[in-house]
Amino acid sequence: MKLTNLLTSATVALGLAAGAAWAQDKTKVGFVYVGPVGDGGWTYEHDQGRKAVEAEFGDQVETVYVENVAEGPDAERVMTQMALEGADLIFTTSFGYMDPTINVAKKFPNVKFEHATGYKRADNVSTYSARFYEGRAVQGTIAGHMTESNIIGYIGSYPIPEVIRGINSAYIHAKKVNPDVQFKIVWAFTWFDPAKEADAAKVLIEQGADVILQHTDSTAPQAAAQNAGNVITFGQASDMAEYAPKPRVSSIIDDWAPYYIARTKAVMDGTWESVDTWDGIGAGMVGIGEISDAVPADVKEAALAIKDSIADGSYHPFTGPLKKQDGSDWLAEGETADDGTLAGMNFYVEGLEGDIPQ
């Protein structure tokens, strides 16, 4: 047992040494994607970030990626393979890659890892995520103004904190400008499934929703809204500008490029350290896509005002007084939510109907 252990670590070390020697001149950066690069949403934007790294550093870097990697042992194998082949820095871009990333990072202490949207870190594992809920505040403001039926449909992916934060943030800000607004939430239990997403959008539209918000990655809900006619939508993760000016009236865009460039630079300079990054509109990680002409000028102005106040830090989307759905107090007047509560958010705010599925 011991001997074989020794042997394996020796061979791994050998492999590492060989990989490192080969990669000395170029910094090799690997990307592990959960979807296809052509999904038009989540993975697409990560791949744009990868291309930005190539454009920034040219010959100094080599990037590799593997798409459609299932979460679990397959992800672990793909990461190990990249590390063996001499990657210096590996971005793992899905929540489900968390434990595999930690496992592989243990075996390759000299390779740096960056895991998106998770909470486990190590000396060579950083985590990073974007404050999408800041974009939801802008979106909620527009949605609250625009709805005529006062019913806003929301396509949830999985009931995890990130998605619940988005629902709460959008609801709070829609309600602020339109006290009669009501949210109908459908859980698709997928990140990317055009057929399911289209069905969810159709169901919501049939129930009277004239605004569809989505936390899934495909453009299928946009197409469904277009067919239905008088329904507006927002691009998710990516701009989805091909559906502008209507149904798509704006979007929340993940812009990973500045972060990817900065972290690659840190590896080149030898200044890389394990950090936990959670940036929003202010740092440019969350972008608001152009608000189209389908939105009246005063609504656009109100939305941009919210965006600017979030960007300069003068306003926090979760500012009291706020109660939880069950009526208990959450935030007192003027109090803002702390990151810990936000990171693990598993409750609706007061006024939202229905239960979070368990």
Binding site: G15, A18, D74, R77, D99, Y158
Partner: protein, 360 residues
């Protein structure tokens, strides 16, 4: 004129050669596909088939072949029994999920106790979970004459909903900050299906797959039940005259394949995967159908086919990373394999004749 002529007897030689010819044809046409995408074809084929076995980092990939291949072989062996008798269990994916949920759930009920009894208990619960899920189409078929293809397939989607539900509720890690997914069983010694010898990839699932191959071989060649299975598949009427009880056969075939799929799920969740999570299943249950046919429904054939399939997965990922081949091209490549196999299968029963048909 070229035409097909039915052989008086299925050709044994072609039956053996078809898989090899299919692999060769896949290499040729896959190579053309890669070339059309502007990638070096020979290099791509070499990366997929050679790199994992004999490349620079094969010390890592070879064990991974066992990890990837074991669940495929274990499930495919179970499926092949039914397929031989004309009983079509298409829902192994669902049975795989239910095995993982039941096995992991049975173990987690005792968290954090340490006992050598926990893992065996999980194995039994995993097999029972898969068995019970397969019993639904089996009983519906024998009682009400429903179609087991439809019922077993539809139950996959039900099982997926169960999986999402327990990941978010019943089995959710209480220390997971509200994120979905169970505790990681790799971090709990009593429940961890660890490598039996470190660095070999050999875990209990691999052992179970090998035992299943031997068991199926003996069953089909030396046992009455195996004879009934073959007879029912080849000559259903004769089987009825020979006194084969179709109800018992349906229950046996679906039950066994369900239990084996459940075991595969359990070994996966307690070992390589470690966690019950929403996206736990990655399609082993469906891929195993291809493996079963690629292996000619023969236990040894399935063992080889499982290895080949695992090879294309692992090699495919390497080719993606090293040559930037798109994932879709790799999937087309894998699809070609089954396509060519079925196409060349024609030659087992027919021969190509040139000239006019003889007039009798």
């Amino acid at each position: 004129m070229i035409r097909l002529e039915k052989r008086p007897q299925p050709s044994r030689a072609w039956s053996m050669a078809t898989p090899l010819v299919a692999v060769l044809a896949t290499m040729i046409f896959g190579g053309l596909l890669f070339a059309a995408l502007g990638k070096p074809p020979v290099e791509a084929i070499r990366t997929i088939f050679w790199e994992p076995l004999f490349g620079e980092f094969s010390f890592y990939y070879r064990p991974q072949l066992l990890v990837k291949g074991a669940p495929l072989v274990l499930i495919a062996i179970g499926l092949s029994l039914g397929f031989r008798a004309g009983i079509w269990n298409i829902g192994a994916e669902g049975q795989y999920i239910m095995g993982a949920i039941c096995g992991a759930g049975a173990g987690l009920a005792f968290y954090p106790a340490e006992s050598f009894l926990i893992f065996p208990l999980m194995v039994v619960a995993g097999a029972l979970g898969g068995w019970a899920w397969a019993m639904i189409p089996a009983v519906l078929k024998t009682r009400f004459g429903t179609n087991e293809i439809l019922v077993s397939l539809m139950l996959v989607y039900v099982a997926e909903q169960f999986l999402a539900s327990v990941s978010l509720g019943l089995l959710k890690n209480p220390e997971g900050f509200g994120f979905p997914g169970s505790r990681n069983l790799q971090a709990w010694d009593s429940a961890h299906n660890a490598e039996l010898i470190a660095g070999t990839g050999m875990h209990w699932g691999v052992v179970a797959a090998l035992i299943a191959v031997i068991f199926a071989y003996v069953l089909l060649n030396r046992h009455m039940t195996g004879y009934h299975i073959r007879l029912t598949g080849e000559a259903p009427r004769a089987a009825r005259f020979a006194g084969v009880n179709p109800t018992r056969l349906v229950l046996f075939c679906l039950g066994t394949s369900g239990a084996l799929a459940g075991l595969a799920g359990l070994f996966e969740v307690s070992g390589p995967s470690g966690q019950v999570s929403i996206d736990f299943n990655v399609g082993y249950g469906f891929t195993a159908i291809i493996v079963a046919f690629l292996g000619r429904l023969h236990p040894v054939g399935i063992l080889l086919a499982g290895g080949l399939m695992a090879l294309t997965y692992i090699g495919g990922d390497i080719a993606q990373s090293n040559l930037q081949l798109p994932a879709a091209a790799i999937q087309v490549f894998q699809g070609m394999l089954l396509f060519f196999l079925l196409a060349f299968d024609l030659l087992t029963n027919f021969r190509i004749a040139i000239g006019k048909p003889e007039v009798a």
